[in-house]
Amino acid sequence: MSKPCLATVWLDGCSGCHMSFLDMDERLIDLAEKVEVVYSPLVDGKDFPEMADITLVEGAVSSAEDLEKIKHIRQHTRILVSLGDCAVTANVPSMRNVLEVDKMLREVYLEQVAGQPQIPNQVVPALLPQARPVHEVVKVDVFVPGCPPPADAIYFLLTELLEGRQPDLSALTRFGK
């Protein structure tokens, strides 16, 4: 029997949640026996698989690319997990939400630079008007607050989900932790 497929994705976040994932240390070996990591910044798979059993999403939905990515991933994931405060609340990326995107880009790239003033419009995806939590854009099945959620919480989350249970993480993590 093939192992369940695990994917992780990094939207507008600092990668702290992925660092916390790596912080599971030797438990990663246990986990590697139970799941196959099919797509992640931590592995080399280039395309999202046809269907992932669990996808952990780090980061807020901030750009056109984030939006497209998360919609695609939602369609190809059984259990979508908002991992960490940026995914759950938009957290630090949302601090720019009080500013107007056009005005902000003009100030940063045109008005406050000495040479070659230009707003990047190639390769870099366009910013959405506001950074938003993942569940405001697509349906999320499990929420894991924390900045970042501790490795213990991530391990508990994954082992519970793999056993087919809905994890209660209230004792292991909270907003800002």
């Binding site: 405060d85 609340t89 630090v92 601090m95 939590p133 209660d168 209230s170 909270r174 907003f175 800002g176």
Partner: protein, 239 residues
């Protein structure tokens, strides 16, 4: 004048309880080891029933009662912790989180915040209503303190402690509805306030990171509240 106080008998969460008629449900519950959550209520200050976290159910009544400002009555049969109450409390919390910018990760009160603790104790893992992301100021004009409106939940503890205990009444409220803000004097910068004595009581009663001491790190910004009931008691005796 007679000072006789009657005793009322009631039930809280199935326990038979006797209480003085001038006591609130909240006070009686706490005396009997029953914890009713609250954000605006703090021991030593007048109760205002602003946050609505302490709503309780009364048998045969369709209305929920705010425990901090409702006095006990004979024969009350109260429930303080039902599924319905938890659902309402969680929704109130979600509204508080969505109304301002509570970015816990970059807050000096992270780890010592009553709002954050409440979210965890009520199992609030996310906010179901859209965040508003209002543009709000931070006033750091005071020599020693900062007010960050992004983190204010309008509990009015600062307003009450300044008025009732310090006697300065530097703090007050301005505006209506979602536009309400705490202000110092007549909405002047805190640093220019002539009435502020710099006592710091407002900072210490603030449940969140809205009022903090300048230069304190996350681990250092612990609020001290144990002095309040003592000060209140002393004031009462002097009157």
């Amino acid at each position: 004048m007679s000072t006789t106080v009657r005793i009322k008998t009631l039930k809280i969460d199935g326990h038979d309880i006797g209480a003085r008629e001038d006591e609130t449900i909240m006070a009686v519950a706490r005396q009997n080891g029953i914890v009713i959550p609250a954000l605006c209520h703090v021991e030593g200050l007048a109760a205002v029933g602003a946050c609505r976290m302490c709503l309780v159910e009364m048998k045969n009544s369709p209305r929920l009662l705010p425990a901090c400002i409702t006095r006990v009555e004979e024969g009350m049969d109260l429930t303080t912790n039902s599924e319905r109450l938890i659902k309402y409390r969680r929704r109130i919390l979600e509204l508080l989180f969505s109304e301002r910018n509570h970015v816990c990760a970059v807050c000096v009160s992270n780890g010592h915040c009553e709002l954050q603790n409440m979210a965890q104790s009520l199992g609030m893992t996310h906010v179901n209503v859209p965040y508003l992301y209002p543009r709000l100021p931070v006033d750091a004009s005071h020599d020693r303190f900062v007010v960050d409106h992004n983190r204010c939940i309008l509990c009015t503890r600062c307003v009450r402690v300044c008025d009732e205990i310090e006697g300065a009444h530097t703090w007050d409220l301005m505006g209506r509805g979602i536009g309400v803000r705490v202000i110092t004097d007549l909405n002047q910068p805190w640093g220019e306030s002539e009435s502020c004595t710099g006592c710091g009581k407002c900072v210490n009663v603030c449940p969140t990171g809205a009022l903090v001491e300048k230069g304190k790190s996350v681990a250092e910004m612990m609020k001290q509240r144990q002095f309040l009931p003592y000060l209140t008691l002393m004031r009462e005796e002097q009157r």
